[in-house]
Structure formats: structure tokens, C-alpha cells
Symmetry: C3
Subunit: 276 residues, 3 copies
């Protein structure tokens, strides 16, 4: 698989910087910060590979319950690194977009929910990154765009998750004009879950994280995997898959404890493994 040279990445047990990414782990939340504001957090090849490798390591170690991706500076991410694409040959171009797809699909396959915390401009692959996260919170001053058409490079990979989030006509409008939408519009169209005051992002993300980390990581891993497994199927195939997932889930130790606690009107005592 191209661009997967970072397989040996380990989960940070303290602050760590790699290719302009900062990784922080607080025992529940793995926070990944795009920390290259001077280059508007562009997603160069090595940065994407590093991000993908770390997401995989987070999945494998299963120590975190939730992943938050945020950014430093006025741009969440300006998308691909245009310096890297200038004068590129076809083989290298393919490596870049393969690595990009690898990153975006890895977000869906890791066990932890991934939350984009956006304060600023998210364009092209940066907007795609927001669309690819399971959840997204944005400040009111944030904007979203797919401006590739303006430089002759149509946002054809970003269109994949963006068109599935906002629908056909709205995606076409963004793609064909390159015009940005504001955060309120992004929320109305389903590209982000909620909009906060410009100084309220941290609190809103913390609250959302707390609303998820209180539940069993084991159960969330089952549900997230089922979600992406069913979403592209016909309804009947989606049901053929999920009814097995849910009937198996119902007899596991975590669900049985949860059900008993609910019926007994007491807090559940999750089995050790359910926290993993």
C-alpha cells in the first residue's frame, strides 16, 4: 500500500511532534493538532502518512476513547500542499492522492469516534477531512470550500465525502464555483454537527467528548464499525448485516450488565474489557 511507511508509529504518551502534527493523550482523548500554521496546515504527503499511521496506532492500542483533530492558526487546513504538486510527475501524484484516500478512509475504520474541531478555514482536502470525521464542531467564523476548480484542479476526491454529507445540488454549487460557505450553512447542510461562538470551541468539544466517553468503548467500537459497514448498502442488505451485529451485541457482557443496571435503576459496572 503506498504511503504507509509510518506503520511503526506509536501512540504518544506525552506531547510529540511529527511532520507538523502534535499528539497529546490525556488518558481518554487523543488530541491531534495540525501545528503548521505558517503553511496553513497543508496536508503534504508525509504529514498525511504520519496522520494515518498515528490513527492506526491509536486504533491498535485502544487506549483512547475518542480522537479530536484540531488546528493552530487561522486555517484548519488549506488542503493539499501545492508546492508539492507543482511540477509533480504522475507516479508521485498518484502517491499523494492514494495517501489522501488512505487517511480519509482510516478515519472511518478506526474504533474511536473522530471529532473535527474547526476554527477557521477548511478548504479542499481540509474540507474533506472535516467531512470524513465522524463528528465536527465549528466556530461561527469558520468557512468551508472546495476551491480546486479555481486552480484547474477539481476537488474530485473531496467531493466523495462532501457530496454524501450535503447532497447533490449543494455539493455541485461548492465544487463548480469554489465559493465558501459559512459555518451556519455548513451546520444546516449537515457538514458539521454544531456551531459555537468563536471562543466556545473548546467547551463545546469537551462537552461532546464527555457525552461519548461516558459510554463503553467496546460498545462504541461495535457501533462505529457497523455504521460504516451498513451505510453504503441497500436497506435490506444493511439490515441483513446489522441484525446479526445487534443480536450478537445484545448477549455480550457489556450489554447484559447495561440492561440489568437499567432494569435495577442503578449505574452500570462495565466489565474491564469494555473500557479498552
Amino acid at each position: 500500500m503506498p504511503g504507509s511507511g509510518g506503520e511503526a508509529a506509536e501512540v504518544a504518551d506525552s506531547d510529540m511532534i511529527d511532520h507538523g502534527l502534535r499528539f497529546e493523550f490525556d488518558g481518554d482523548v487523543e488530541r491531534i493538532t495540525l501545528a503548521d500554521p505558517d503553511r496553513r496546515n497543508a496536508l503534504g504527503l508525509e504529514r498525511m502518512e504520519s496522520l494515518t499511521a498515528h490513527l492506526r496506532a491509536i486504533d491498535t492500542s485502544a487506549s483512547a476513547s475518542v480522537v479530536v483533530i484540531d488546528a493552530e492558526g487561522p486555517a484548519f487546513s488549506a488542503g493539499h500542499d501545492l508546492g508539492e504538486l507543482c511540477g509533480i510527475d504522475l507516479e508521485s501524484s498518484r502517491a499523494v492522492f492514494d495517501a489522501c484516500v488512505d487517511l480519509m478512509t482510516t478515519i472511518h475504520v478506526i474504533r474511536q469516534p473522530v471529532i473535527a474541531a474547526v476554527d477557521g478555514v477548511a478548504t479542499a482536502a481540509g474540507c474533506q477531512l472535516v467531512a470524513s470525521c465522524d463528528l465536527a464542531v465549528a466556530t461561527s467564523r469558520s468557512t468551508f470550500a472546495t476551491p480546486g476548480v479555481r486552480i484547474g484542479l477539481f476537488c474530485s476526491t473531496p467531493m466523495v465525502p462532501i457530496s454524501r454529507a450535503v447532497g447533490r445540488k449543494r455539493a455541485m454549487q461548492m465544487l463548480l464555483t469554489g465559493n465558501p460557505i459559512d459555518a451556519a450553512t455548513a451546520a444546516e447542510w449537515g457538514l458539521v454537527n454544531m456551531v459555537t461562538a468563536d471562543d466556545g470551541l473548546t467547551d463545546a468539544v469537551d462537552a461532546l467528548v464527555a457525552d461519548i466517553t461516558r459510554w463503553s468503548s467496546h460498545t462504541i467500537a461495535i457501533g462505529k464499525e457497523a455504521f460504516y459497514e451498513q451505510i453504503d448498502r441497500t436497506e435490506i442488505d444493511a439490515y441483513d448485516f446489522t441484525r446479526r451485529v445487534m443480536s450478537d451485541n445484545a448477549v455480550d457482557d457489556v450489554a447484559q450488565e447495561g440492561i440489568r443496571a437499567f432494569l435495577d435503576k442503578r449505574a452500570p459496572q462495565w466489565p474491564e474489557s469494555a473500557e479498552g
Copy 2:
């Protein structure tokens, strides 16, 4: 097929109670009421089987034009019967979720439009039931949630129709947090069609029913079947199917009378069979 022991069910020609369900038929509308408020209209195995069997009987008899599903008490439905799931073995668990899928897909395959009339809390499989109905009306005090994650039992079958109704990020937010959404949000997200005042549900549902029952049941049966047949196909496959449906429909007696009446500026006289 598991859980289909109720095939012999007959359409009520007067009030009838079966497994906490009340069936009323007024000559045009078959009303099914979840009538077990003490157990928050939980969808136990036998209740789901009874509901499915009656929906099939309503389809076969073709006497009603529309089906309305409403409920007694503060909960529309709290979803699966947790008492039934507590200590359940895998085989029985499979029977429960097979019966649930059977119910939800039966709503789509019967000839009559099915309208959910919601006043109160619709959670888990109760929320799935609302999502599965062709149309839904809710009072402003109604709420919708997929809280399975809170008891370790992720709402993996409810996610199927809910994610198809509200989109990815909104479904993920409901599923991962378990937090409820209010009726206004449910309407904005497309989970329900309209919100009424808390004392306006009956009038709104009656008006919606009247807007449907005035048209030919024959035509509606053609359209409803085509809708679910096409919705999961690629656009080109959907067209390959629907263009045959519509060109056949155009030459049938009902359409020809409807077209002639329209051109003559008179009310159509539907053929006898069109009312069936």
C-alpha cells in the same frame, strides 16, 4: 421466516386488542394504536410479530387506503423490551432482531402508506419505527433518540433507516451520545414530515390522511412499490425500473380516466378496482 407465526391475522372490522395493540378500521383508515403505556409501548417479540402479521393482512385485504400508527401514554415507543433481552440466549436474541427487521421492512412493502402519529418519546426501535414509516407527524413535545449506547447495546438496526433519513453526521451524533433531539430538529433533519401543536396531532394527521385517501389506492400502490424498489438503486438502474412502471401506469384504466377528466376539466370517475 422467524417470527411470522401470525400470518393468519385478520383485519379488524371492529376494535380489536392483540398483544397490547389496538386495531380500528373506519372504512378508509386502519389505525393501529400501541396501547401498553405502562410498559412505554415496548416492542416485545410477540408484539412485533402481531404488528407485522396485521400489516400483512391489511395489505392482502386491501380494504384500507392508509395505515396510521399512534400510541397511548407519554411514550410513543421506548423500543425493545429490555426485560425480554435480560439474560437472553443468542438464538432468542436473533429471533428478536429478525422480527424487528421483519416489521420495519414490512412497512415498506405493504401497498398502503403508513403514517406515524407521534406524541411523546420515540427511542431506539421506537425511533426506528418512526423512521421506517412512509410519513410521520409529531407534536412539538415529542423527542427522538437512539440511546442504546447508554446500556451497552448500540442501536445498530435503528441506524439503518435513521441514517438514511437524517444523514451521516447527524445519525452519528444521535448514536454516539444517545442524546435526544426535539421535534423541530427531527423535522429539520427529515426524520418527520411536520410538527404540530401538542393538541393538534389528530387534526394534522386527519388532514394528511385526507390529502392521500382522495386519490386512487391503485395508483398509490403502484407508486409506493416503485419508490422503495428504486430508492437503493443507482440512478440509471432506478430509471430503467421506473420508466417501465410509469409507461405501464400511463395506459391503465385509472390513469386514462384521470387524464381524460383533467383535459375535460371534470372530476375523475375512478374505475371500481382503483378504490381497492
Copy 3:
């Protein structure tokens, strides 16, 4: 292929009338006007064939950058020609709906973005036409409906693009009742991109056209083709397709000039072929 007798159509280099359609070309925009207000711009078989043939010719000649479809009179289009359907035989009925599907899918496969400029009533196949265009702008007095159920002819082909634009429950509501929605609702549901004042349609469409024609037609053709190619695929298949499209696009002359100009902070000089 049925109904494609108009293959020999040529792009208008001046005003041209054909089957109640007016074609105007201003060097950048091909404007197609439904110019039969007395028959509420009904989409009869020959009119649909003419429209399809001209769209194909516009694609082949590649002289226009954008296509605008507008209409004369109070109806954008009332849909199929009911006089034509009255007393029709099955073979002719099939020819009508084959031609309709041919028209709607041709909108998606031509290289130019197609914008519906709606001022008035768009019903049945007229509403389908709006749903099928890449973008749509509507005046506030415009309305949209799928009223086929009222004449016994369910809108089974219109449901294909309409259900994909507005979602299941909203499409069902339109289809089962035949009730119209207003322009604001159509925008909220994603059926049209924007609503203008009743006297503001021309300006809004001109602005939207200007926001697209400033970019390379070559790039837009790549992107539009990729959009419809990926939209019905699973996400992973969509990515397998689009990553090749985008990596090939990145090394083409237009993108390389666009990237260089962006890095040099100057306006791009598109290669001659990019304007075509």
C-alpha cells in the same frame, strides 16, 4: 435508442426555434428557453427529443461553458403533455418515458453544468427537470410538485432525482399528496440552490454563471463527469475512481498552470484547450 432522432441537431449560432424551444448562444452561455407558455411548456415527446439532441450537440461542440434552461410564462413546465398521453398505446407510452429518461440523464452526461432558472410552477416532469439540473435558482413565487397521483399517473420517473435531492419522507409527502412546496421549502430541502426576489432571477443566474465561467471549462468537464460517476458508488469505490481522476488532473497543463499561478500570486494563463 428510442427518441434520438435529433442527433443531427446543431448548436445555434443565433436565435433558433425548434418544437417550442428557443436556443440562444452568447459565446459563453447556451440558453434554452421553454417557449410554449400557452401549453404551459409541457414536455411532449418531440420537444423532449429536440432538447436532448441539442444538449448533445452543445456537449459535442464544446463551445458553451454553461447551459441555462429557463421558460416563458407562469409555468416553468407542467410536465408531460397530457393530450399526448390520452388514449396512448403501450408502445408509444414507452417511447415517451424512454425519451424523458434520455433527456434527464443527458443533462448529467454533457460536459457543461446545466442551471435551471425557475420562475413559476414546475410540476411532474417539469419538477424532475429542475431536480436533474446540476444547479437550480428559483424566484420566491415558484412552486414545485409531483401531482401525478391526482390523475392516476404516479410520478414514478420524477421520483428518481427528486427523492435523491430531498430525501425519503419529503419525497413521499410530495408524491402521495401531490401538494406543492414553495420555493423557500425547495431551497431548504436541497431541490434548488437559492431563491431570489421575483424580479431578481436574471441577476442571480448571471452571477452564478459568472462564478462558473471564470474557471477552466476543461477542469469543470473533468469534475462534472467525476461527480456523477462517483455519486452512486460505495464510498470506497467512489474513492478508487476519483483518486485516479484527481491524480491525472493534477499533472495536466491546466492544473500545473493554475498551481504555478497560485504560488506566484498571479492570475493563471489557461492553455488554449482549457477554454474549449
